[in-house]
């Protein structure tokens, strides 16, 4: 029985993938679990592994092809097995290499019996699934196209859903994987909370967002940073560069500490409940070539500035190389997005569901402010908190922001 190799959802939000390179050529022997190809997802370059042993009978798409999740990219089977399949045509790059006929390809002759044809427009034949599997998938909100079927001709049967549900839930019902030992409290929604959630979601899109802006005096953070970096000038990282603490590192530290005091803002929307996290995992938005990604600094509230600094630098570096593993950019409980380096004064950031909030950080600029009746020049920074109103109310968000402001205006509070 030949097994179709599908473009699998290799990240929780992946809808399509680009086949970067075939690692198994036609005719190669394949063991279950072998890496068949490298696939570029919306987040990273990942391995596509074999789900069945056999021989790589056929590449249906050349390297460089972008295909939707669930589409067939190749076929694994027995040597000499006759398969029938039309190549899936998607968006091959110019001068895509033709599928080279090999000894194995010679066995690939049209036959009415074996595999379902893939339509020439690149739309795969409909997903084959048992009635029970369809019912279970509908109940759980699982997209069958993202499930690898183990029945004849790739039919999805009930047991495949038991195996696949956690990693194949579609983006719409995305619930990041929770690692073992994760610490949080689920609070079922009160009727009041339900009504607020429903009415606000009707008013604004799926995540009813409101924004709170605060201007923070950064003079003392600035001084602290100068002092810390002066003291650690001799402290060099592996690359031989002095590992300097950035303003952003201090902001992440302060955000984590403030979240610890305001757990109401350190939460996830879970449709029928709100998950209040006891852990603080701060997602930090990192711009990469053609988008952005949010590596997570886990337990940021328990880490020293030096740890946060080293970790954020390392994660951002690998993010730019697109070498982050999914668990490194999922599972955050709150996000920070900083556009200060682009001389942005103030902006609003879009919430990263299911998180309750994201802090948009503007640049720190010197400006005249009134202090004790005098106009003085101070370093000031504007931050804007985007809040999911289903979880965070105005006063709740404002209280968090006030704590953050006090901490940054008196950085000693971070070590207190």
């Amino acid at each position: 029985m030949a097994t179709n190799v599908l473009m699998e959802a290799l990240s929780p939000t992946m809808e399509e993938g680009r086949l970067v390179e075939w690692k198994k050529q036609e005719g190669d022997t394949v063991a279950a679990g072998d890496v068949l190809a490298e696939v570029e997802t919306d987040k990273a370059v990942m391995d596509l592994v074999a789900r069945a042993p056999g021989v790589m009978l056929k590449h249906l798409v050349p390297a460089g092809t972008t295909l939707a999740v669930g589409k067939t990219v190749g076929v694994i089977g027995k040597v000499g097995e006759v398969i029938s399949i039309a190549p899936a045509v998607a968006t091959p790059p110019p001068a895509a290499p033709a599928v080279v006929a090999t000894a194995v390809a010679a066995a690939v002759a049209p036959s009415p019996t074996a595999l379902p044809p893939v339509a020439a427009d690149g739309v795969a034949a409909r997903v084959k699934a048992s009635p029970l599997a369809r019912k279970i998938a509908a109940d759980r909100g699982v997209d069958l196209a993202r499930v690898q079927g183990s029945g004849p001709e790739g039919r999805v049967v009930a047991r495949d859903l038991d195996r696949a549900t956690p990693s194949t839930a579609p983006a719409a019902a995305f619930r990041p994987a929770v690692s073992a030992g994760a610490s949080f409290t689920d609070v079922p929604l009160s009727q009041l909370r339900k009504t607020i959630a429903k009415r606000l979601a009707q008013s604004i899109g799926p995540v009813p967002t409101f924004y709170l802006t605060s201007e923070i005096d950064m003079e003392r953070v600035w001084e602290a940073r100068e002092a810390l970096n002066a003291g650690s000038a001799a402290d060099r990282n592996e690359a031989g560069k002095a590992s300097k603490i950035s303003i952003n590192d201090i902001i992440i530290k302060a955000v984590a500490a403030a979240l610890k005091q305001h757990p109401a803002c350190n939460a996830w929307w879970q449709d029928d409940r709100i998950r209040y996290w006891n852990d603080v995992h701060v997602s930090m938005a990192v711009a990469i070539d053609d988008g952005l990604i949010t590596p997570v600094i886990r337990h940021a509230d328990q880490k020293s500035l030096r740890q946060i600094s080293a970790e954020s630098r390392e994660l951002a570096g690998r993010a730019r190389e697109r070498r982050l593993a999914p668990e490194e950019y999922t599972g955050g409980t709150f996000s920070v997005s900083n556009l200060g380096m682009f001389e942005i004064d103030q902006f609003t950031a879009v919430i990263n569901p299911p998180e309750a909030g994201i802090l948009a950080v503007g640049g720190t600029v010197q400006k005249p402010v009134v202090q004790d009746g005098l106009v003085v020049v101070r370093r000031r920074m504007r931050v804007t908190l985007s809040c999911d109103h289903r979880i965070i109310d105005g006063a709740t968000g404002a209280a968090f922001l006030k704590t953050l402001k006090l901490m940054l205006e008196n950085p000693l509070a971070l070590v207190w």
Partner: protein, 326 residues
């Protein structure tokens, strides 16, 4: 609880019903003096006399017709066919007369008659004497078709058939007459149209009746050793079908294999499968498969006959397919 053979359980049913109701009488070839080709009527002539245990000439159409006439005037005949293969000669009386009498008389004439005898293949009896006709009779509106697998069911269902106001086709398993089982004491009447779980299981439902119940129980043993828990559901009555029991079991196991001794094409099991796909489509995790006798006249050759028959191994193979474990 007494242990009885299937043969004696039927005998007890006849004796008890004849004793209970003077309108009940038995008629057929060799039922009296010879005490039945399979000794089901042993002792009945002696006990009830020649007016109620009637030996007939070899005239299936004739004595079936006499039975129909007797039922029309209010008696409760039990017509024994030496085997159901011979009843082909009487099928006009069964289908055209018995099955339609109540309907065509506008409800004025009842038809409390039982046609009974052994069905299915025994050993090397050849193509003409190794047949299953339950699908043919179950096809006919107006007939009930009963095929018990155990002595207790044989007794309880024959008593129910005799008391039923409508014509009943009662098919016994030729190879089952010598099998033994516990039969409850007392006036045991098993309701017509109720299936029975002969072995509980979780992974797959084996639907069967008559001789295939034993085959499925053996298959369930083999499957258990491979970690598959099979439920054996004995239909007992082919028409009316116990859809509730079938849906409940298959709805729980999500997989089913229909096992019948007769031929594949238009077999009784085809009706069961149709009801399942229509009634509980969303519960199915695999197509329902059927294990049937081979689609050929039964070979006389011993090895070919064995190959043509249903076996526990064939059931196991089908189960692995519906479990996606082949």
């Amino acid at each position: 609880m007494p242990i009885l053979t299937y043969r004696d359980a039927l005998n007890h049913a006849l004796r008890e019903e004849m004793a209970r109701d003077p309108d009940v009488f038995l008629m057929g070839e060799e039922v009296g003096v010879y005490q039945g080709a399979y000794k089901v009527s042993r002792g009945l002539l002696e006990e009830f006399g020649p007016n109620r245990v009637v030996d007939t000439p070899i005239t299936e159409l004739g004595f079936a017709g006499v039975g129909v006439g007797a039922a029309m005037v209010g008696l409760r005949p039990v017509i024994e066919f030496m085997t159901w293969n011979f009843a082909l000669l009487a099928i006009d009386q069964i289908v055209n007369a018995a099955a339609k009498m109540r309907y065509m008389s506008g409800g004025q004439v009842g038809m409390p008659i039982v046609f009974r005898g052994p069905a299915g293949a025994a050993l090397q009896l050849g193509a003409q004497h190794s047949q299953c006709f339950e699908a043919m009779y179950a096809h006919i509106p107006g007939l009930k078709v009963i095929m018990p697998a155990t002595p207790a069911d044989a007794k309880g269902l024959l008593k129910a058939a005799i008391r039923d106001p409508d014509p009943v086709v009662f098919m016994e398993g030729e190879m089952l007459y010598n099998t033994k089982g516990e039969v409850p004491d007392g006036d045991l009447v098993v309701p017509i149209g109720r299936a029975d779980i002969k072995r509980a299981g979780n992974d797959v439902t084996l639907l069967c009746y008559s001789k295939t119940v034993g085959i499925c129980l053996k298959a369930a043993d083999l499957l258990e050793s491979e970690g598959i828990s099979a439920e054996v559901l004995d239909l007992r009555t082919i028409r009316p079908l116990d859809l509730e029991a079938i849906f409940t079991s298959v709805g729980r196991t999500h997989r089913a294999v229909m096992v019948e001794e007769g031929w594949y094409f238009c077999g009784a099991g085809a009706q069961v499968v149709d009801e399942i796909q229509k009634g509980i489509f969303d519960e199915l995790d695999a197509p329902v498969l059927r294990v049937t006798g081979a689609d050929v006249p039964m070979p006389y050759n011993k090895h070919l006959e064995k190959a043509a028959k249903v076996s526990p191994e064939k059931v196991v193979t089908a189960v692995k397919r519906v479990m996606y474990r082949e």
